[in-house]
C-alpha cells in the first residue's frame, strides 16, 4: 500500500468515526436543549394558568381531566406525545406537561401541550449543518493534506525511481532531486554518497581486473614461446610431444580466458562506442560461410531465409562477435544430423537449434564460467559475452528450451 493511500485511509476512517459520534452527540445535545426550552415554556404556561385559575376559562392547548384520587400526590411529568392533526392527514409531535391539582374535592390532571413542529425544523437544520459542514471540512482537509503530502513525497518517489534504474555499469550519475524536507534531503545525501562509493569501488575493481589481465599477457606470451621452441626439437618422443602440446593447449586456453576477460572489461569500459548501420542478414551469411566446414561436419541442416533484412544501429565488431558466438554455440551444442533455424524479422532474431535434452537452468545460462561438463572445448564465457553485448547494445535476449530444442531470441528496440 502506498504511503499516501495508507495515511489517506487512516485519516478517512478516523474522520468517519469522530464525525459519527460528533454529529450524534450534537443531535442529542440540541434535542436536550430544545426540550429544556419547552419545559421552561410549559412551566411558564402552568404558572399563568394557576395565576388565572378560572375553571370557566379553557385554553386550546390545556386539557383538564378528572382522575382517580391516588394521583393526587404525583409530581408533574414532562413527556413527548404524538397527536393526530385535525384533518387526520399527519401526526405532529408535542411536548406535554401534566400536573395534578385538587379542586372541589376532586383530583384533576392538567395537561399543557406545545407543538414541537417549528423547533423540529430547527433541530433538523442544525443537525444537517452538523452533518454537512464537517463532511465538507473533512473532504477539503483530506484533499489539501493529500496534495501537500504528494508534493513533499515527489522527491522521495523520484529517488526511488532513480535507484530502481541505477546500474553500476552505466555511465550516468544518480542526480537526486533536492528537497525542503530534511529527512528526504538526508536520505538523498546518503544515497548520493553511497552511489559515489559503489561507482568508485566498481571502477577500482574493473581497473584491477583489466590490469591483471593485461599484466598476465606477457608471462603467457613467454610460456607459449618457450613451449613452442621446445616442441620443435627433433629428438622428442611421442609422449614428450604430447605433454608439451598439452601444455601449449592449456596455455592457449589460459590466454583465451584472459583475452575474454579483457574483452569483457573493455565492454564494461564502453570501448565499443562507435555505432553504424549493421545488416544482420549480411553478418549471419558471412558467419555461416565461415562455419560451413563445421556445419558440414555435423551434417546439420541450416534453415535461413536470406531475404529477410534486419538493420540495426550498433557497433559492427560487437555485432559480429555476438552472431559468431551464438552460431558457434548452436553448432557445438548440436547433435549429428540436427538442425539450426535462423529467423530474422523486423525487430527479432531467433536462433533455434536441436541439441541434447538438458536440465540446465535458464537463469544460469548467461553466467560466467557456467558450462556443461561434456563440452571440454567450451570456455564457459561465450554466452556471458553475448549477454554483455546485448546489454550494451540495447538488445533483449532470452533463452528457452523445450525438450531437445534450444532457442535464443534477440529482441531489438
Amino acid at each position: 500500500m502506498k504511503l499516501l493511500t495508507k495515511t489517506g485511509l487512516n485519516f478517512i476512517s478516523a474522520s468517519i468515526f469522530f464525525f459519527l459520534f460528533g454529529s450524534l452527540g450534537g443531535y442529542y445535545f440540541i434535542r436536550y436543549a430544545v426540550n429544556k426550552m419547552f419545559n421552561n415554556e410549559l412551566v411558564e404556561a402552568k404558572k399563568q394558568i394557576e395565576l388565572i385559575d378560572n375553571p370557566a376559562l379553557t385554553f386550546a392547548d390545556v386539557e383538564v381531566d378528572t382522575v382517580p384520587d391516588h394521583y393526587r400526590t404525583c409530581a408533574p411529568i414532562f413527556s413527548d406525545t404524538i397527536i393526530q392533526s385535525a384533518n387526520g392527514a399527519n401526526y405532529e409531535f408535542y411536548r406535554k406537561l401534566s400536573y395534578y391539582k385538587q379542586a372541589e374535592g376532586k383530583t384533576l390532571r392538567v395537561s399543557i401541550i406545545r407543538s414541537l413542529s417549528p423547533s423540529d425544523l430547527m433541530v433538523m437544520k442544525f443537525t444537517l449543518m452538523l452533518t454537512i459542514f464537517p463532511i465538507l471540512f473533512f473532504v477539503i482537509l483530506y484533499l489539501v493534506n493529500r496534495a501537500s503530502t504528494k508534493y513533499s513525497l515527489s522527491v522521495f518517489y523520484d529517488t526511488i525511481n532513480k535507484l530502481k534504474s541505477f546500474d553500476v555499469n552505466k555511465d550516468n550519475r544518480l542526480d537526486l532531486m533536492t528537497s525542503d524536507v530534511d529527512e528526504f534531503e538526508q536520505l538523498n545525501e546518503v544515497f548520493n554518497a553511497m552511489e559515489k562509493k559503489i561507482k568508485e569501488d566498481y571502477e577500482r575493481l574493473k581497473e584491477y581486473t583489466g590490469n591483471t589481465s593485461h599484466e598476465l599477457q606477457t608471462p603467457i606470451a613467454i610460456i607459449s614461446a618457450k613451449l613452442d621452441e621446445l616442441i620443435q626439437a627433433d629428438n622428442l618422443t611421442e609422449q614428450q610431444v604430447k605433454a608439451i602440446a598439452g601444455l601449449l593447449e592449456t596455455t592457449q586456453r589460459l590466454s583465451k580466458i584472459n583475452q575474454a576477460l579483457i574483452f569483457l572489461a573493455k565492454l564494461d569500459n564502453r570501448v565499443f562506442a562507435n555505432e553504424e548501420d549493421v545488416s544482420f542478414n549480411a553478418i549471419i551469411r558471412q558467419q555461416l560461410d565461415n562455419m560451413e566446414p563445421m556445419i558440414d561436419e555435423g551434417n546439420l541442416e541450416v534453415k535461413f531465409d536470406r531475404e529477410n533484412q534486419l538493420n540495426i544501429k550498433m557497433n559492427a565488431s560487437l555485432a559480429h562477435t555476438l552472431i559468431q558466438n551464438l552460431l558457434q554455440n548452436a553448432i557445438r551444442h548440436n547433435v549429428p544430423n540436427g538442425f539450426i533455424d535462423i529467423a530474422l524479422s523486423d525487430n527479432e532474431l531467433r536462433i533455434t537449434n536441436s541439441g541434447e535434452v538438458t536440465t540446465f537452468e535458464t537463469e544460469k545460462m548467461f553466467g560466467r564460467f557456467q558450462k556443461k561438463s561434456q563440452h571440454p572445448q567450451s570456455l564457459g564465457i561465450g554466452l556471458s559475452i553475448v549477454k554483455r553485448i546485448c546489454d550494451i547494445s540495447n538488445i533483449q535476449i532470452s533463452y528457452e528450451h523445450s525438450g531437445a530444442e534450444h532457442q535464443f531470441v534477440l529482441t531489438f528496440n
Partner: protein, 225 residues
C-alpha cells in the same frame, strides 16, 4: 634478413631471437627505447617492436623510421589489443600489429608476408616443390594446374608453407584462422575440418601429402619422410 627485436622482457626477447636465428635471420635485441632509437640508424629490414617500453612508447621508433623514409618494415607486438591502439600504430606507418601472447609461427607468417609486401611489392610467388602460390591473386597451382581453394584454405596453406618443417599446434592454427573476430566461447577445434578439406583438395590435384599429423596434437608441413 636483418631484424631488430625491441622487447624489454628478456625471456621473450631471447625466445624471439632464437626463433628468428633458427629461421636463418640475423637478429639484434634492444631492451629499451633509447637503445632502439639508436640502433634503428643501422639499416634493418624488419623491426619487431614492443610498445610498452620502460623508458617510453615504442611508437617513437615507428615515427623515426617513417620520418627518415626508410624501407624498414615494422611489426608491432603488444599486449594492448584495442582497435584504437592498432589503428594508431598502423596509421603511424607500422606494417602489422600482433597482439601478445602470440605464437612464433604466427609471427613467422606475418614476417614472411611483410617481406613479400615490402621487398617484393607482393609480386613474389611462393613455391614449394610442385606447389606454386601467387598471394596477390589468391592463386594456387599444382604442377601448373589451378586448384580451387576457399579463402580460409588459402590462408591456411600460406601459413603452413611459411612455417614449413615446424610443428604447428591446433590451437596456434586456430588462433591464426580466427584473427578477425574472436570466438570467446570455445577453443579452436574447428580447424580440423579446414585442414582435412585443404589436404583433400591438394592431394586430388596431384600434390604430395605434405600436411602431416603430429601425434594428434598438431600438424607439420613438410616433404621430409
Amino acid at each position: 634478413m636483418k631484424i631488430l627485436v625491441v622487447e624489454d622482457e628478456p625471456q621473450l626477447a631471447q625466445s624471439i631471437n632464437d626463433f628468428l636465428v633458427s629461421e636463418g635471420h640475423v637478429c639484434e635485441i634492444a631492451s629499451n627505447l633509447s637503445l632502439a632509437l639508436h640502433l634503428v640508424d643501422s639499416l634493418f629490414d624488419i623491426i619487431v617492436l614492443d610498445l610498452n617500453l620502460p623508458d617510453g612508447n615504442g611508437l617513437e621508433v615507428v615515427k623515426k623510421v617513417k620520418s627518415r623514409g626508410m624501407t624498414t618494415g615494422v611489426i608491432i607486438v603488444s599486449a594492448r589489443d584495442s582497435i584504437e591502439h592498432k589503428v594508431e600504430g598502423l596509421e603511424l606507418g607500422a606494417d602489422d600489429y600482433l597482439t601478445k601472447p602470440f605464437q612464433m609461427a604466427e609471427l613467422n607468417a606475418r614476417l614472411k608476408s611483410l617481406v613479400r609486401r615490402v621487398h617484393f611489392k607482393g609480386e613474389e610467388n611462393i613455391t614449394f616443390n610442385e606447389l606454386e602460390i601467387t598471394p596477390s591473386e589468391l592463386l594456387v597451382k599444382v604442377n601448373g594446374v589451378t586448384v580451387d581453394l576457399t579463402k580460409k584454405e588459402f590462408d591456411l596453406l600460406i601459413y603452413f608453407i611459411a612455417n614449413k618443417n615446424r610443428v604447428l599446434t591446433k590451437t596456434g592454427i586456430g588462433e591464426h584462422m580466427s584473427k578477425d573476430f574472436m570466438d570467446y566461447g570455445f577453443t579452436d577445434d574447428f580447424i580440423y575440418t579446414h585442414i582435412k578439406n585443404l589436404r583433400k583438395k591438394l592431394i586430388k590435384a596431384g600434390c604430395g601429402d605434405y600436411i602431416r599429423n603430429v601425434y594428434g596434437v598438431g600438424y607439420k608441413f613438410t616433404d621430409a619422410n
